[in-house]
């Protein structure tokens, strides 16, 4: 259009020179004034228009239709016939950046909302960001950048994490107390045999041991009361999330999906059953540890996995082994990774972090060849069938 307009302007100039009638002046003035006025108006509008992404829950399910809501606030009286929004959708897993353009009109003195549906096929973090926004005047002579984008970078960005759908499992949860690990924590749901902590006091019922009768209380209550002892529980499960994805291999996204599906399923199951556990992951090579005792903490843990290192790095396992003698001692260590060799399990075993090791190996597709390991029980996982594959896992 600018070229066409320039031609028209030159024509109007010639018309003005050659044609002596007053209309030639009006036309020439029109051709001069219109771009100047449009320039000023749309420059003003570009300074006033605000764009933002309306943020909602960060944790989203894989394959869910996730609305990305963009709010456009045009407080000016100028209708924008052409606004182009450059929306970058960045997948953190593969680093793939897709920039999608949205050409929309913008009403004057109004707020308008664009709701774009995004649906991730794989698990992982996704960032939606308005990287650029331009408006055009009604004759498309000029194009202006919306200044507001630089002023509020947080408003134009939204990160969410696509997690697999949680399918309940019903695995056995072992209490590591029996394995000889001492603890000061007791179960709030189940009674046990530790006489140092009373779980409940109740009336006697047939079958109760005589030794459990609370004689003093019985005398006061004029009824036979017995005491239940508490069950000591050991926070003895450690989930280590170290995907070690090799991007050069085909199907690495499926591997990641399987690992994430497994870690989410197990952590949710444990928290639902009020079984505390610890989780370790790595962010920029730094080990992060979190103790999870309830479902809220479990959700926070899953959110934090957004920032977990995904790719293969020997430093992560080395850091883990160095810290083995401190906080990480546990009864059962479940290691989530797509990289497997016997030396890793051997190193883990030698570190004596846990009494028992399970190795969750993310696979591209299910293999009939079962891996047997001397030091750990290896579970070969494939996306979509994790609950079945870990059904034999004794937590």
């Amino acid at each position: 259009m600018p070229v066409i307009y320039l031609i028209l302007f030159i024509v109007s100039l010639f018309f003005y020179i050659l044609y002596k009638g007053v209309f030639s002046f009006y036309l020439f003035a029109f051709f001069i004034a219109v771009p100047i006025i449009l320039f000023c108006l749309y420059l003003y509008a570009a300074n006033k228009i605000k764009l933002s992404i309306i943020k909602s829950s960060k944790i989203r399910r894989k394959d869910e239709n996730i609305p990305v809501n963009i709010e456009i606030n045009n407080p000016t009286f100028i209708p924008i016939s052409g606004m182009t929004i450059f929306l970058e959708i960045y997948s953190k897993l593969d680093g793939d950046k897709n920039v999608i353009k949205v050409c929309t009109p913008v009403y004057p003195r109004d707020k308008q909302y664009l709701s774009l549906i995004v649906s991730p096929a794989h698990c992982g973090g996704v960032r939606c960001k308005i990287v650029k926004c331009r408006i055009h005047d009604l004759l498309r002579l000029f194009s202006f950048k919306i200044k507001n984008l630089k002023r509020s970078p947080e408003d134009i960005r939204w990160d969410f994490f696509a997690v697999p759908e949680y399918i309940p499992i019903n695995n056995n949860i072992e209490n590591s107390y029996h394995l000889g690990i001492e603890t000061d924590e007791y179960s709030k749901q189940s009674k046990g045999d530790d006489p140092t902590e009373i779980f409940d006091i109740r009336e006697y019922s047939a079958g109760d041991k005589i030794s459990r009768i609370h004689w003093k209380l019985s005398a006061k209550q004029d009824s036979t009361m017995v005491k239940d002892y508490s069950l000591p529980i050991t926070n003895s499960i450690l989930l280590v999330f170290d995907p070690c994805i090799d991007k050069s291999k085909e199907g690495y996204m499926e591997q990641y999906d399987a690992l994430l599906e497994a870690v989410v399923t197990i952590s949710r199951y444990l928290s639902e059953n009020s079984t505390g556990f610890s989780a370790v992951w790595f962010t920029n090579g730094n080990m992060k540890l979190m103790n999870i005792t309830n479902e809220e903490e479990c959700t926070v843990f899953i959110e934090k996995l957004i920032y977990a290192d995904v790719y293969d790095s020997d430093k992560n396992i080395a850091a883990l082994l160095e810290d083995s003698e401190s906080d990480l001692a546990c009864g059962h260590m479940i290691y989530f990774s797509s990289k497997y060799n016997e030396s890793i399990t051997a190193a883990l075993y030698e570190s004596a972090i846990a009494l028992k090791y399970s190795y969750m190996l993310g696979m591209t597709e299910l293999s009939n060849e079962k891996i047997t390991d001397e030091f750990a029980k290896v579970y070969q996982l494939s996306s979509g069938s994790v609950p079945v594959l870990i059904s034999s896992l004794n937590l």
Partner: protein, 915 residues
């Protein structure tokens, strides 16, 4: 494969990692934006552009059509074509019927339409000064009255333009189509530089801009998935706004903004122009002239030809002409034109004689051009001047300085200040009797150029000259100088006279020139010999006697004879025209002129120089400007290009070089180009210019020329036999004197006088048009009213029948249907893929949003009864019917009627026919 297709239709974009982006984007706003009246606004644009186009046509061809008639035609045609897009079946049928009737009407009256077209084409060509006799002949075969035929033509034109504009604005949003149907008319008039109809042209430009702005959006979104709000262009990974409803809603806002903005811009330009009087800077006229010349002179064959650079080569585009003529190059172009640009600005004391400001003089006629004779600074004649510190150009000053009256008075010395604006800045433009050597001493940058003219390096200079006004006191002209009581005491040295006789007496040997000479000798010289006045002159001055020594008639005899030869209307006569046509390559310019007998000042001056030489008088060719006493006023005098002129100079010993005027219309101190301009102005207003009157009254030769050329005008306008006889003499004079642009303008004036000059004719035309329009309008209104009333009667009857159906189930269904229709009137949405109860909830929600009170329980009962009537086998009781009727009437009276505007009520009554 099927699955893939489904995925693609659901998702607009899928990345390589499987991230899917939906195929549509939902758009919502805080405030509601409805598409109400969008169609109406688009129709109005179509109507406005059609009306403007018709009005511009009328303005250009000056048919003085009634604006009301044009508006009615535009309304009818655009409305008929536009409503074809309406969803309302009645409007659609009405539009279709009207279009059919219009087309049939035009077809049946095709002869009248054709007659109107020919009439308008004839008027157009006549105004453009390109009268086409074949049009006139064709017109004679048309039996219809011309005004009626023009009305029919406008109707046909409005059908064509209305079709185009409706298609461009209503059915599509198509700027090229709108441009295609409106621009040709705009261009046809502008091409000739005719005054434009300001409001019409502004309106057309506004319509263009509005449609273009919408077209730009439309263009980029005209992709697949038009039914969605947005559709993705997969390759570009771009979502475009495609929703027709969304576009309609936004365009409604955009149209208002664009129309307002563009109107304001035009308004500001008009107000600015009205307040300051500014239209165009003076300098533009210079560029205009230069560009015009460049275009006129441009040809591929001449592109690399040196001669194309005809004016010593230092002008813009190589076309700057001395004095606005052609710099001594003759016959290269078809003609010349004047555009009223400023050539010079001069300041000088009051004068009573025509002052010739000489720019360039040349004495050698060669290859159809006048070239300067080179000065020989070592020659004896040259030294007669340089010895005294003078230039040969000072000859006239030297002579005039010695003029002394009988009472011993000398002529007063005056000063002229000159500013060169559009004239060639190379030359010094100075009056006769100027003291160039003195001016040169006063640090004015001025150099001698050969022996005949001066070259200036500055655009502003002043120069002393002798005011010759006393010599012209008795109505004498330049030729009569010698009879004056002033006598020159200056005696020339014989060397200069010998030099002049040697160089300025040579002429070409040509049979045509000889024939002209013979003709003058035999038919014009003797006339003066019989004049008694001549005897008096013979006694008073030697130059009025037959020169026995040289064997030549006296200068007075020769001058008047040649002058009469060119101006004589009784003989074959010569026609003054600015467009004589280029001289054919193999022909001599002067021979061609003497054969064709038409040309402008350069032609007459060139031939005059040669003829003077043949009669034994040294002569040369001069170019410059002429200023008339009438042009004098205090302060600066603006000299336009119309004052540019070429003339002959004759050498008279003792007097020097004096102008010899042979161009008809320029004798006795007049300038036909200025007269024409003045006359044109007079034609446009009733006030007559005193200068024009005086010049026409005292200029016998001018009027005689005018008479002589009036015959040519009647020839020109032969396609309109009565035009010349109807024209007033003054108008005919102005119309016939001019040619080229002047002919254009005078032809226009002629047209004006023919069309608009006679009040009776014009009002008669209006009388004949108004009844036709009024009758057509009346017929249209009556027909429309009849259709609306009949339709209303039919639909009301149908409603009554449905609401009193004996079948109770059908009756309650009808009550339900009409209740929804009533709610529709107040903008309650009742359509969509919803169940009845969902619809009920939607209605209640909308009513709450709009603060409309509605009886929810009654309405729900009506819905339930309606569902029962449609779905169930149960009978409907009369109580249920009564309750339903009560609900319907109550909703109409309490909820609907109070919320209807007057316009909505009319619509409900006559369009929807609901009550």
């Amino acid at each position: 494969m099927k699955k893939k297709t489904n995925t693609n239709s659901r998702y607009g974009f899928v990345s390589k990692n499987g991230l899917k982006v939906g195929g549509d984007i939902a758009l919502s706003t805080d405030k509601p934006h409805e598409q109400k009246r969008y169609l109406l606004v688009k129709w109005f644009i179509a109507f406005l552009s059609t009306l403007s186009t018709l009005a511009i046509t009328d303005n250009f061809v000056q048919t003085h059509a009634d604006l009301f008639t044009l508006a009615f035609f535009s309304f009818l045609c655009t409305f008929a074509f536009s409503v074809l897009k309406s969803k309302n079946r009645f409007f659609k049928m009405f539009g279709f019927g009207t279009v059919v009737v219009l087309l049939l009407f035009v077809l049946i009256n095709r002869e009248n339409v054709m007659g109107g077209f020919l009439e308008i084409a004839d008027r157009y060509m006549f105004r453009a000064n390109r009268p086409d006799p074949s049009l006139g002949a064709a017109l004679r075969n048309i039996s219809a009255d011309s005004e009626t035929a023009i009305s029919f033509f406008y109707l046909a034109l409005s059908v064509i333009v209305g079709f185009g504009t409706s298609m461009a604005c209503v059915h599509r949003t198509d700027f090229p189509l709108l441009f295609l149907f409106t621009f040709p008319v705009f261009e046809l008039g502008m091409y000739w530089g005719w005054d434009a109809l300001i409001w019409g042209c502004c309106a057309v430009v506004i319509c263009w801009t509005v449609i273009l702005s919408m077209n730009i959006i439309n263009h980029t979104t005209n992709k697949a998935g038009r039914k969605k709000t947005f559709a993705i262009h997969e390759r570009k990974k771009t979502f475009y706004f495609t929703s027709p409803n969304g576009k309609a809603a936004f365009n409604g806002v955009l149209i208002k903004f664009t129309a307002l903005l563009t109107s304001l811009v035009f308004l500001c330009a008009i107000l600015f122009s009205a307040a300051t009087g500014f239209i165009r800077p003076e300098k533009l006229n210079v560029y205009r002239k230069q560009i015009s010349h460049a275009f006129e002179n441009f040809s591929l064959s001449n592109l690399f030809n040196d001669k194309n650079n005809i004016h010593d080569g230092d002008g813009f585009l190589g076309v700057k002409a001395v004095g606005g003529t052609n710099g001594g190059i003759l016959g290269q172009t078809d003609g010349i034109s004047f555009n009223g640009s400023t050539a010079l600005k001069v300041e000088l004391p009051k004068f009573d004689y025509p002052i010739y400001l000489t720019g360039r003089c040349a004495g050698e006629y060669k290859d159809n051009s006048w070239q300067m004779i080179k000065a020989d600074e070592n020659a004896d004649y040259f030294k007669t001047f340089t010895d005294k510190g003078k230039f040969p150009q000072d000859l006239n000053n030297l002579c005039v300085n010695e003029y002394i009256s009988e009472s011993g008075d000398k002529l007063e010395e005056a000063k002229i200040k000159v500013e060169i604006v559009g004239a060639d800045p190379k030359y010094v433009y100075a009056p006769y009797g100027s003291d160039f050597s003195k001016a040169s001493e006063n640090n004015e940058v001025m150099k001698m150029c050969e022996e005949s003219c001066m070259v200036a390096q500055k655009k502003r200079y002043s120069i002393s000259f002798k005011n010759l006004s006393p010599l012209f006191e008795n109505g004498y002209d330049w030729c009569d100088l010698y009879k004056d009581s002033y006598y020159s005491n200056y005696s020339f040295k014989q060397e200069y006279t010998d030099y002049v006789n040697k160089n300025y007496l040579t002429y070409r040997n040509s049979q045509i020139l000889n024939d002209a000479y013979e003709d003058i000798q035999n038919n014009y010289i003797p006339k003066y010999r019989t004049l008694s006045q001549l005897d008096e002159f013979d006694e008073s001055d030697e130059y009025y006697e037959y020169d026995e020594e040289f064997g030549r008639p006296s200068y007075d005899e020769v001058y008047h004879a040649i002058h009469d030869y060119f101006s004589d209307e009784k003989g074959q006569g010569f026609k003054y025209t600015l467009t004589p046509g280029a001289t054919p390559e193999e022909k001599d310019f002067i021979d061609d002129f003497l054969t064709k007998r038409k040309g402008y000042c350069s032609y007459f001056a060139s031939a005059g120089v040669e003829l003077l030489r043949m009669f034994g008088y040294p002569a040369r060719y001069a170019e410059g400007y002429i200023i008339l006493p009438e042009q004098y006023h205090e302060g600066q005098i603006i000299i336009e290009d119309r004052s540019a002129h070429a003339w002959a100079e004759v050498y008279i010993p003792g007097k020097g070089w004096i102008p010899a005027e042979f161009t008809p219309g320029y004798g006795d101190g007049s300038n036909r180009e200025l007269d024409n301009k003045s006359n044109n102005k007079n034609d446009n207003s009733s006030n007559s210019s005193s200068r024009a009157d005086s010049s026409s009254s005292k200029n016998e030769s001018s009027s005689s020329t005018a008479e002589s050329s009036s015959s040519s005008s009647s020839e020109t306008s032969s396609s309109k036999p009565d035009s010349s006889s109807e024209s007033k003499p003054d108008n005919s004079s102005s119309a016939t004197d001019s040619s080229s642009e002047n002919e254009h303008s005078s032809a226009v004036d002629g047209t004006n006088s023919q069309i608009g000059g006679s009040g009776t004719t014009d009002s008669g035309a209006n009388k004949s048009k108004v009844p036709l329009a009024a009758i057509m309008l009346a017929v249209f209104i009556v027909a429309s009213a009849a259709v609306i009333l009949i339709r209303r009667y039919v639909l009301i009857s149908k409603k009554k029948a449905e609401l009193s159906d004996e079948d109770q189930k059908n009756r309650i269904k009808s009550i339900y249907k009409y209740t929804l229709k009533y709610l529709n009137l107040i903008g309650i949405f009742t359509e969509g893929n919803l169940t009845d109860m969902q619809l009920f909830e939607k209605i209640i929600e909308q009513c709450n949003d709009k603060n409309i009170q509605i009886d929810e329980v009654d309405l729900k009962t009506l819905f339930e009864d309606s569902i029962k009537a449609q779905m169930s086998d149960e009978d409907i009781t009369s109580d249920q019917i009564k309750q339903a009727e009560f609900t319907m009437n109550r909703i109409f009276e309490r909820s609907v009627l109070p919320n209807l505007s007057a316009y909505d009520k009319i619509k409900a009554k006559f369009i929807h026919c609901l009550y």
